[in-house]
Amino acid sequence: MVAVIASDHAARGSTLTLREVSHRFDLEGQPLPVLDRINLQVGRGEFVALLGPSGCGKSTLLRLVAGLDTPTAGSLVTDGREIEAPDPSRVVVFQDPTLYPWRTVWSNVALGLEARGLLRTHRGRIEDALRLVGLTGFANAYPHQLSGGMAQRAALARALVNDPKLLILDEPLGQLDSLTRIAMQAELVSLWQRSSFTALLVTHDVEEALLLAGRVIVLSHRPARIKAEVVNSQPYPRHRGDPHFVELRREVFEQLGLDEAW
């Protein structure tokens, strides 16, 4: 099943390979190891979720993939080339929406197109993206006039407009209410199925990871190591009540060390 999905998406998504990636920060002179020899292979058009306790290094890993930081050791390769700097083919939806307060929602979403000089030719995409995240009526609003969830949806639209090959999502739905969240999860899946990008999703929500991803990578406490990998090859749309789904969820919770809670 994974193979079938992968071949569906072979057209545009990029591959991603992490080899022995380790990263360390300096915290007041003390070395703080955050990532410990991470090995990961993501195929074209695959949807991979990263799960792990808070502060284990998930966001750090995503920054390395984005090319915003370089790892202390190891290498990251996408489509056969080493990741050295940010590239618009890899777009990040950050944990914190960080919209530019001096721009309206519309021109925040337009940012990527503007930066690459594509605004004239691809203007229509902005409307599409805004419609997709349900912010059509707020195109001319300023960020301080949005709620937290709306800001997050605007940040999602800002990423989607760029038609990425690899979409990097750092808890993109974290601030949404549960209803909007379910709707956006379905929206993300259908978007991914249509646009054939590779997706790397960080989330705290076990169900979300299992609903969206073909593979769920469970990380340990800091320094993060890959503890387990859970494959979900169920077809979309997936259902939370499905016995196989429940079984997978139990498995992931067990890997996270929360089995007593069940």
Binding site: L68, V91, V92, E114, A115, N162
Partner: protein
């Protein structure tokens, strides 16, 4: 309230009537106009805003009346130093040519100096905030020379520059440039790194990062610098006009004092106050316009 005000207003011209004709008539006309406006205000919403000003207008009228009484009527204050209000009106009417000339000369000097100073300060500030190399070279100079009051350069400037006009422009630009530079710099340096991260992952060039991220994000700071610079430039303007340039309101002020023409002095002071507060208001308007996105976030 409106009724009470209108009852009070007509009192004033009667008070003045016995003193100087022209001034009293003007006051009376104004009072009648306001009284009419007050009546109209009951009916038209357009005048509602004016209503807020009534207490102030009333206080102003009281002040003018008191001034009138103390100077012209009772002569309580020594005369050459404290002329009655009508004497100032007289000066403005009789000497308006020279005053207008003075306003233009001051405005021209101030505008040129301020614009040069603000532009240079802004560009320098962005450069220091952005480039480590530029920062390395300019920062020490800024630290050493910046805090020196611009007026300290006055003797040197008048000696070095070909004309006192260009020397004054230099001084005003200097007084404006320092706060603008420092605040622009701190604004650019304080831009959240997340803003850059986002633009970089979306394919922004260095140029885009400076023009579309760093500068707009630093704008609130830049405006603080512009306000401080404007205040500084007023001070330097007056000093430069008094000591060097033989034109402008500052010079008129000193000239009037030299001739013991105190009414002229008050007139010039009054005009200068209008000029300065007008310019500050203008800058506020510009800020509110450019930083409208900030409304509701920070007001200062």
């Amino acid at each position: 309230m409106v009724a009470a005000l209108t009852a009070f207003w007509p009192d004033k011209p009667e008070n003045d009537w016995t003193y100087t004709g022209g001034f009293a008539i003007a006051c009376g006309a104004l009072a009648v106009a306001i009284a009419v406006a007050a009546f109209a205000g009951v009916r038209f919403a357009a005048f509602q805003r004016l209503k807020r000003l009534f207490p102030w207008l009333f206080a102003l009228a009281l002040f003018l009346a008191a001034w009138e009484v103390v100077t012209a009527k009772l002569g309580l204050l020594p005369l050459p130093f404290f002329p009655p209000p009508q004497a100032i009106v007289e000066v403005v009417i009789d000497d308006w040519g020279r005053l207008v000339e003075g306003i233009f000369a001051s405005a021209r000097l101030l505008a040129t100096g301020y614009l040069i100073g603000a532009t240079v300060g802004f560009v320098t500030g962005v450069a220091i905030g952005w480039s480590r190399l530029v920062g390395y070279w300019i920062h020490p100079i800024l630290r050493f020379v910046g805090p020196l009051p611009a007026t300290a350069w006055l003797p040197l400037a008048f000696f070095v520059f070909p004309s006192s006009f260009s020397a004054s422009i230099f001084l005003i630009a200097l007084a404006t440039g320092f706060p603008v530079t420092v605040l622009t710099w701190s604004g650019v340096a304080g831009v959240k790194s997340a803003y850059y991260d986002i633009a970089r992952t979306l394919g922004a060039t260095q140029r885009f990062l400076v023009l579309k991220v760093a500068i707009p994000a630093a704008m609130p700071h830049v405006f603080v610098g512009l306000f401080m610079g404007l205040g500084n430039s007023f001070a330097v303007l007056v000093v430069a006009e008094m000591l060097g340039v033989k034109a402008g309101l500052g010079w008129y002020l000193q000239w009037a004092q030299g001739w013991a023409a105190y009414a002229n002095m008050y007139a010039a002071l009054l005009l200068m106050a209008f000029l300065c507060s007008g310019l500050i208001t203008l800058l506020f308007r510009l800020r509110d316009r450019l930083l409208s996105w900030q409304k509701g976030l920070v007001r200062w």
